[in-house]
């Protein structure tokens, strides 16, 4: 187990290295002078040069990568082009909202998706299974922005029961929650379908296993067989996939935040792209990628710990 953990960590280290190198070099791909592009043709040369210096753009490329690393390790992701604010602090302010959104969507999706999947697995071929199958596939294939826009249309424009824009403030939980609902549902919608399918497939495989037959032959109640014996085994592969799905969730979050004008990392990245504020784009994308890598690592370890077979044999 330790051996595996070590190898995994080393690989992850290299992956992070590669990600950071890529992002550090990204700015080199901009056709023309990125600073000029932002500040405009009328900005005095001295200002342009000073900003370039702050961004290490006047140094050779390998040095830029090096400085990006070392600064990032200290928590310094640079300053943005226009107003010289610290990128780290901008991200720090925006991140919690995105995190809350992600967690809320996951929770919603889990609460609805898992029972749906279990039901579909225990009533295979039934009308509900078929309806669920179609519904879940259509939900899975629905991109986050479509879900968001449709929800916006229904619940804010035609039937205004929930606020369409804004984040609300954390100091007022009720208000925050009403602002959270539509975006969270929009993200959860795609997830419910995905989770339900996953749980269903996993459960079906497990339910076909001999130990389930054995348990039933011992007279154990079906309810117990399904919810205790089968589900525990079925959930294990689901955990492994949750980590991957989080990536799609984070990707979807950007759309949902834009549609509902909700503050968060996605909104920050989007705005910065519009204004060509590359340091923020770079820092924001880095944080997203690192988050994803961290979550994957975590789910990987949890997966290995939950399944005692792997725990012992590793």
């Amino acid at each position: 187990m330790l051996d595996y953990a070590l190898r995994r960590l080393v690989m992850t280290f290299f992956v992070v290295l590669l990600i950071m190198t890529f992002l550090a070099l990204l700015i080199q791909l901009v056709p023309g002078d990125p600073v000029r592009l932002v500040l405009g043709a009328k900005a005095p040369e001295s200002v342009v040069q000073s900003v370039r210096h702050d961004m290490y753009l006047d140094k050779p490329v390998p040095a830029q990568v090096y400085y990006f690393f070392t600064n990032a390790l200290r928590g310094d992701l640079g300053v943005d082009f226009q107003s010289q604010r610290s990128v780290t602090s901008l991200i720090w302010t925006a991140l919690p909202h995105t995190a809350i959104l992600a967690l809320a969507s996951l929770a919603l999706a889990g609460l609805l998706g898992v029972p749906l999947g279990v039901y579909a697995a225990t009533h295979p071929g039934g009308w509900l299974d078929r309806v669920t199958a179609v519904a879940t596939i259509s939900l899975i294939t629905m991109p986050a922005y479509v879900a968001g826009l449709l929800l916006l249309l229904v619940f804010s424009v035609h039937w205004p029961i929930l606020p369409a824009t804004g984040t609300g403030s954390l100091s007022d939980p009720g208000d925050y929650l009403t602002h959270l609902m539509l975006p969270a549902i929009a993200l959860a919608v795609t997830w419910i379908g995905y989770l339900a399918r996953l749980v269903r497939t996993s459960m079906l495989e497990v339910l076909n296993e001999r130990y389930i037959l054995a348990a039933r032959s011992q007279g154990i109640r079906d309810r117990l067989v399904v919810y205790k014996y089968a589900l525990r085994n079925a959930v294990i592969p689901t955990i492994a996939v949750v980590g991957v799905g989080l990536g799609t969730l984070l990707g979807g979050a950007i759309f949902v935040e834009v549609i509902f004008a909700r503050a968060g990392l996605g909104m920050l990245i989007y705005n910065s792209i519009q204004t060509r504020n590359y340091p923020i784009v770079r820092g924001g994308v880095l944080v997203v990628a690192l988050l994803f890598v961290a979550v994957n690592l975590l789910t990987d370890f949890v997966y290995h710990m939950v399944d005692p077979r792997i725990r012992v044999s590793s």
């Binding site: 076909n208 389930i212 037959l213 348990a215 011992q218 085994n233 294990i236």
Partner: protein, 342 residues
Amino acid sequence: MTQPLLTVDGLEVVYHTDAGTLPALSDVCFEVREGQIVGVVGESGCGKSTLGAALLRLLAPNGEIVGGHVMFAGRDLASLSAGELRTLRGQGVAMIFQDPLTSLNPTFTIGQQMIDAQRAHQQTRESKSVVRQRTIDALTRVGIPDAARRIDNHPHEFSGGMRQRIMIAIALLHEPSLLIADEATSALDVTLEAQILKLLKEINAVHGTAILLISHNLGVIAEVCERVVVMYAGRAVEEGDVYSIFDRPLHPYSRALLAAVPSPQHRGTTLAAIPGRVPSLLALPPGCKFADRCGYAAAVCFTREPASLSRGGLRVRCFLYDDSLPEADKPRADWATEPVPA
């Protein structure tokens, strides 16, 4: 004569698949008396495992019992409600399976699984310590050393032989009248197999538990069983006491099966395999299913299916013994003399 414990009468089971309806079992009849050990033997695909599952009504969802009766302790299983069926499983009838690794849930300790198996049939909730103690005793009785400590281990921490003992322990928790052993030793090596068979015989002797032993291994059947049912292509082709079946088999298939077992006496001669192949369940020929491989088949064997006939204490499904046929049409075999009544 007291009522038999288990009566299977004309059992018909099919599987619904994309490719069509497979007749897995046809007109299967046999009985198991209290305390008896009955063996069901046949090649893979003959339907023996389907039989085991069908008895407890635990067929795969695409399987269906379409005919016949299964009576246990005088009650027709088809008439039981879901709750009564559940009560029966584990208490009246218990089952052990082929591969003990896949029969035990890998994510739970064996203690938890055994506790669940006990609680499944308890009206009042017994205290944890009582249940735990009973579990330890059950494990010790089947020969698991250091049971008190090992109760908290997971299945993969046991060897194959011990896992099978655990399965048997679970099966015996509620002292069932009938134990169905579906290929229980097929996944074990010879020494372990011998140990498990010894255990089963002990259980039968000490507790009077009837055993239905399903196996493809003639040696296992011969060692343990009192009566034998020989199956082929979903049909019971011969049934009788173990000595008759092994010494003087009536059905050409049983005879060929026994002849095919290699023994040191036949050293240097060709292995007597049965020519041909088992027919696919999707394309069963009319008439006797063994006809195309039988050395004694007559024309009638290919057109009509023989009924199961009684001969003394034995049953056989073959036209060789069908006296209702005119002599000219009847198949003939010089070894097929009338059996001595059991």
